[in-house]
Symmetry: C2
Subunit: 214 residues, 2 copies
DNA sequence: ATATTTAATGAACGATGTTCATTAAAAGGA
DNA sequence: TCCTTTTAATGAACATCGTTCATTAAATAT
């Protein structure tokens, strides 16, 4: 009993099955997926390589054939969160051409992401902010590019006379800081019930609108 | 050489010196002070009981005669930060009777604390937020009381027709979230130079002023 | 059938937080 | 002064952690 079933993975053979490179990618992805699950379930501090290995049915040492170390693995988890975050903001931005509507939807998407994927948000913006700046191997888009969307939308709104003239950097910093502050409180302070959070979000939006409109 | 001098502490005798209860308090304080130093120098993740014991010249086990475990020790560190934080805000609040000046000074004190004691701020409001809610043994003032100052000043300003009518909870939440957002970005994102941070702080203050004034 | 390549492993190392029986210095009593 | 009791401090041990590396055996190549 409990003898390894010949399923999609984890067949009985544990040694030296040769992978065609494609299979290696698959396992690497499976590790990442499982790591995300473990991370989301148990949180950052309870995340351990040995637990992850146990979940996968592999020896801890095997993980190091696919990821250099724990840090790089977590970095990949963060990176996934970041592309998702960027996509969400970009989609909100391109969903309308009205300058204010655009800013509003971006703000909404920001908060929504933070509240929905709060564990990710914490890892990305509170616990491992350092990951934000490591320009890693596969280069791709830098992590911080997610906030370019914010800045671009501010400039866009200024070009359309929807946002008052002034340093667009400060304006997008204000947006960033306000949204981050709201999300941070909402997901970390238990007294922030959905109702209280919603009120705060709405008032903060109004505040930003008042402060930035031309 | 390096033979234990008969100084204020750490005499040669290592065993069973009996303490009069007062001395025990002193050592407990020394441990806390040294823990704060270690924590500030090395950060949260590099903080270890064994390093701390080495700094003090004691065995790791000794620490457990004075603090239940690492968590309680760090909690005491956080608690120190919190009383300091509360004091700073309270002092700013009582330094003037002008409603807006008061709110402004509280905001200034908040940001100043965050930037000055950034390591504390991170531990208190980002990494170990859970400490905020543990009503510990010596009861004293709950950690969250620090934010009562914010709320009180909003109400005070409303009573003096300086802040417009409306739910004072939302208003103080807005203050809290905005200030936290600014501080969080400033101390975590290296691109936030002092200049950029100062601009952000000023604009955020103006924004809050516009949004809350009657 | 044999040799080569390589995915996976077990065992080990150092560091961590924590517990507990043991030690020896101080205090109290004769 | 000697003996007993109290107790501050310890060393050794345990479990857990991240990580490395020589070893194993399955898949492939010859």
């Amino acid at each position: 009993m409990t003898q390894p079933t010949n399923g999609d993975d984890k067949t009985g053979r544990k040694f030296g099955r040769r992978r065609k490179g494609e299979e290696k990618e698959q396992l690497k992805e499976l590790i990442l997926k499982t790591a995300s699950e473990l991370f989301i379930e148990q949180g950052y501090s309870a995340f351990s390589m040995r637990k992850l290995a146990a979940m996968l049915g592999y020896s801890p040492a095997t993980l190091y054939l696919y990821y250099k170390d724990k840090d790089h693995l977590l970095f990949s988890v963060v990176d996934d969160g970041f592309t998702r975050f960027r996509q969400e903001l970009a989609q909100a931005s391109s969903s309308t051409s009205d300058p204010w509507e655009r800013l509003d939807r971006i703000g909404e998407a920001y908060v929504q992401f933070g509240l929905t994927y709060s564990t990710y948000y914490q890892l990305m913006f509170m616990w491992r902010v350092d990951y934000l700046f490591e320009a890693k191997q596969g280069e791709e888009v830098p992590r911080l590019a997610a906030f370019q969307v914010l800045f671009d939308s501010v400039k866009y709104a200024q070009d359309h006379q929807a946002v008052k003239p002034g340093d667009p950097y400060v304006y997008s910093d204000m947006l960033w800081a306000s949204l981050h502050g709201v999300v941070a409180l909402a997901i970390q302070i238990p007294m922030f019930t959905p109702e209280r959070t919603a009120k705060l979000v709405n008032h903060t939006k109004d505040m930003l609108y008042m402060a930035l409109r031309s």
